[in-house]
């Protein structure tokens, strides 16, 4: 349970609190008694100690992804990883082709990067998911061209939690000799990932989505056959020349521990979250007019995105302020525009505006779920009671 200003935290898809075990290890790498030295300072023992911690963490990331340790590049987060993957491939392979494929429901980190590449003269195909939010291999196959150099499809959608069939898309790309990038910021540590089996060439992950610190991420870059990337950041040649800059040991160690814990806890945590999510859905669906957004079965357990009929979106969000939830993704909710992801799934502007993403995690309890159901029920009844379509049952309806 997270106790902060009596608010029930249901925004784990936006970020997670740092696990206490992670925080303890991070603290060991910050102060003068700890492993604070620059991991690039191999001329002395303190630097080599830091390098050892960094490599242990790199091993943890690789283990969760079925990758080799040498294939993990540290970045500042999944946004930078996505930028490095798309721009790095595009700039490196532009002599071979200038066409990329992605989907309209990707995170802005991919969409905005793809649009930047369009401004640079690349051609990008944006797929509209066909199967209740899922991008299929058949859709990708229909868009492949002789000059396609990269396909980028996310594993689990950050707004709906819907999971695409990455392995089928990967197999298709491998057969056609086209690089395949996956944004796995929402799925790492929640779904099994094996970059070999899934035929993935590049994969973005983040620390803060699975109880690690913010400001750290990684990009898996296949080494065999070698994937060529033009770096975004130059200066020092760190990370095999693909991402220069002094490595933040404490954040890397934190992300490594978070990934280690996720690997060991994935199965029981999935079981627990599925039970809590189903309990929550059973509670709020009784209200009527509550529509599940996205595929019913192909989804990660922690995210439930619903549209609620008969209530206006801004009033709904304000009425639910005892719950920390998102309207659309946290990255776009400040704009109060209807979610582009839900619009791409065919929801009307009005229903997209009245959508809420509830996301639960490691510290969510049954008691919190039951309280959240009660709050949603009370506020939705109240707002629907104010609305013009309320049926007449007495001389004066209570507001």
């Amino acid at each position: 349970m997270i106790c902060s200003k009596d608010i029930i935290y249901m925004d784990y898809a936006a970020t997670t609190p740092v696990d206490d075990r992670v925080a303890r290890l991070m603290c060991e790498c910050m102060t003068r008694e700890g492993v604070f030295a620059n991991p690039a300072s191999r001329s002395h023992q303190l630097g080599r100690d830091a390098q050892g911690r960094v490599e242990m963490a790199r091993h943890e990331i690789a283990s969760l992804l079925g990758a080799s340790q040498t294939e993990i590049i540290w970045t500042s987060g999944a946004t930078e990883s996505d930028n490095l993957a798309l721009k790095g491939v595009a700039h490196s392979l532009q002599d071979q082709g200038r066409h990329l494929i992605t989907s309209k429901t990707e995170h802005k980190a991919v969409l905005d990067t793809a649009r930047q590449l369009e401004r640079e003269g690349f051609d990008v195909s944006f797929l509209i998911p066909a199967d209740q939010g899922r991008v299929t291999a058949e859709q990708v196959a229909a868009e492949l061209r002789d000059d396609t150099i990269l396909v980028s499809i996310m594993h689990a959608n950050n707004e709906t939690g819907v999971v695409s069939d990455i392995a089928s898309i990967g197999k298709l790309c491998r057969e056609r000799g086209i690089l395949f990038h996956v944004d796995a910021a929402q799925s790492a540590g929640k779904l099994p990932i094996d970059v070999e089996e899934m035929c993935v060439d590049l994969l973005s992950v983040s620390g803060h989505k699975i109880y690690g610190p913010k400001g750290i991420g990684a990009l898996y870059v296949r080494s065999c056959p070698a994937t060529r990337l033009e770096p975004l950041i130059h200066g020092g040649g760190h990370e095999r020349g693909m991402r220069s800059g002094t490595l933040p040991t404490h954040q890397i160690v934190g992300m490594g521990e978070a990934f280690r814990l996720a690997r060991h806890q994935m199965e029981p945590e999935t079981h627990k979250l599925t039970g809590l999510r189903d309990r929550f859905w059973a509670g709020i669906s009784k209200l009527g007019g509550v529509l599940l957004n996205g595929h019913r079965d192909a989804r990660i357990p922690g995210i439930l995105n619903v549209s609620i009929e008969g209530v206006e979106g801004e009033s709904l969000l304000f009425a639910l302020r005892e719950l920390a939830v998102s309207s659309g993704s946290a990255c776009t909710s400040a704009s109060r525009e209807a979610s582009y992801v839900l619009r791409a799934l065919g929801r009307s502007d009005q229903l997209a505006q009245s959508s809420i993403r509830f996301s639960i995690g490691r510290y969510t309890t049954e008691d919190e779920i039951d309280r959240a159901v009660a709050i949603v029920a009370e506020q939705v009844h109240r707002l629907r009671g104010l609305a013009p379509k309320t049926p007449v049952t007495s001389d004066r309806e209570a507001g």
Partner: protein
Amino acid sequence: MDSLDYSQQVRDRFERPANAGRLLGPVISGAAGEEGLGTRVEFDFRLRSGTVEESAFRVYGCPHAIAAASWVAENARDRRLDDTSWMDPLRLAALLEVPEHKLGVLLVVQDALEAAAAKFDQSEDR
């Protein structure tokens, strides 16, 4: 003020909107807006000799729309329905601290009040 940071008066009226509901029987009603466009406001007024004796409102809209409709329903009492000049959207925006980009919401509320006034103008009770 960010989009979910409301004035105390808006918060109070959102939580406890005075006069929310529907009046049955002989009333003059007015409506404006569309739910599909984000705001729909409806008023009912019960009159005695052209003066508002009782009022009620219904709203589909943001907290500012709810607060504004509640304020109008409350302040219409004891006024003649053929004079709506007291409902000045700019003054109401200042009173409720409604941000500039939400002024359109207050215009919908004003339109609903004026729609009721127009019906009153055409009614035999005038």
